[in-house]
Amino acid sequence: MTSRAPLEHQAAWWMLAPALAFTLVFALYPVVDSFFLSLHRIFLGVPALGQPFVGFENYQTMAGDPVARQAFLVTIGFVLVSTALELVLGLGIALVIHEHFSGRGWVRVAALIPWSIPTVVASQMWRFIFNDQYGLANLLLFGERVEEYIPWLAYPGFAFAAIVFADVWKTSSFAGLLILAGLQVIPEEVYDAARIDGATTWQRFWKITLPLLKPALLLALLFRTMDAFRVFDLVFVMTQGGPGDSTLVLQFYGYKALFAEGRMGYGAAISVTVFLAIFVLSLFYIRGIGSRLLEKEPA
């Protein structure tokens, strides 16, 4: 037993080496380097300025930048509204596809379609649906009354609602699958016992299903929150952050600073801020999930 341990350690390290190498070079080093870049003043368009170290100047600039504040508020608003809707709809989807009925496989297939569609395709699709002349939204709402057609994406409030709408459509089924996993581990006997005691469907849902689903709901909430925080594709395709910065989310603002304007230092400061926000959230996730794999056998 003991003579095998060193050999096993060695083999384990070799098996892990490629995965660790990729992770170090293309994920961990870049994050550290982003932080390093964020402490410098770098304008790619003006190399003559050099790349002086400026401490936390970029972060101070960000704190005083009204556009950055707007992007922060838009992102928070987007995260709160879309994840709340996705949890409610996801719960509904999970309850439906958990039931036994003939053709359930096909209903699950249908629910998975929005999840599987490329976000870019979903974005173009919703952009077309909200189109002022040819869009489905106007057709459904106003039919022949063409003069009432609304250019949805040209109004700040509607444009924000449109990206929330698209995100909810695209990702509710993913939340639903996480919640479904929670439903599947609730033992049937609990419901049988409640039925014998005369509990109605409604009571069983509120008194049994929801409390026992709490871990799965929290997990779905964390996943969706972290994902909504890095929304990019939808905004790039549907609104480009407009109109009037009403859909300007942090990842899009940072992308513009980095790659359109060449403000490497400032863009890096935005990206580090987004990273830290998500990192704090992901600590909860690792604590809840990562340890479960190693501690006990999955059910």
Binding site: A111, W169, D233, V274
Partner: protein
């Protein structure tokens, strides 16, 4: 009774809301230019395939498809080739500190793309990987590894230890045990991880947008996001291109719904 009515309504809503918006795009792709420009829009298409032809011929779509197949296919192969041994080591071998290694690997999936975008771009610039398909492969493999490792490790963990013991008694080392005994048993998990990795790489947009600048090298998501006509937005061609980009995914979902559901609900990392 109320329960049955609720279920029926739920099924209708789930199926209807999931499919209807995309069906509208399918309908649009089968219209003629005249029908697309009708105000108010018409409900039924004439079933014309003009938009498919013009999307394929005039809009680089064949390039995008080829690039997407190459990039998503090789990402899947590489991520699994690297992920299988890593998952096996984390799930089955004794190694001090492996909780931390697993945690570090999994946390990568939470990184916002923006946080690594600048430096990844600079690395690729230095090694000549910008505007190449292999350059895109490097971040893709990195970002799909956590999900692949998570699915595989969860599965390896459940396999009985007796099989490994038997292999050891027969004189197999850790590598041989993994390849000859554990990998064949883990085929369902490998398959699930492969499907989810492929879908991720097929759909990814952010890094593809940064790294691939020439239309001949771009993947479907970039092509579709930057779709443009000469004067007006070519909605019909765009809808046709979108249907083509989505078709392989619909086929995967129809064929492998069970694997996808179990893979994602096993504690998936990203949708």
């Amino acid at each position: 009774m109320t329960r049955r009515i609720l279920l029926g309504v739920g099924i209708l809503l789930t199926v209807g809301l999931s499919l209807f918006p995309f069906l509208w795009f399918v309908v649009t792709s089968l219209k003629t230019q005249k029908e697309v420009e009708a105000i108010p829009p018409t409900w039924w298409p004439s079933g014309s395939l003009d938009f498919y032809q013009s999307a394929l011929v005039d809009h680089h779509l064949t390039d995008y498809i080829l690039n997407s197949v190459l990039v998503a296919g090789s990402t899947t192969l590489l991520a699994l080739g690297i992920g299988i041994p890593a998952a096996y080591a984390l799930a089955r071998l004794r190694l001090p500190g492996k909780v931390w290694i697993l945690g570090a690997l999994l946390s990568i999936s939470m990184f916002p793309q923006l946080a690594i975008a600048g430096p990844v771009w600079q690395i690729l610039e230095r090694i000549g990987g910008l505007n190449t398909r292999w350059g895109l492969l490097l971040p893709y493999v990195t970002l799909t590894l956590p999900l692949a490792i998570w699915i595989l490790a969860s599965f390896f963990k459940e396999l009985p230890a007796e099989l490994e013991e038997a292999a050891r008694v027969d004189g197999c080392g850790p590598w041989q045990t993994m390849i000859r005994v554990m990998v064949p048993l883990a085929a369902p998990a490998i398959f699930t991880a492969a499907i989810l990795t492929f879908i991720y790489a097929w759909n990814e947009f952010f890094f593809a947008l940064l790294i691939l600048t020439q239309p001949e090298r771009q993947t479907l998501p970039v092509g579709i996001a930057l779709f443009q006509g000469e004067f007006t937005m070519p909605w019909g061609e765009l809808a046709a291109a979108s249907v083509i980009a989505t078709l392989p995914l619909v086929i995967l979902v129809v064929l492998f719904q069970r694997w996808i559901v179990s893979g994602l609900s096993a504690g998936a990392v990203k949708g």
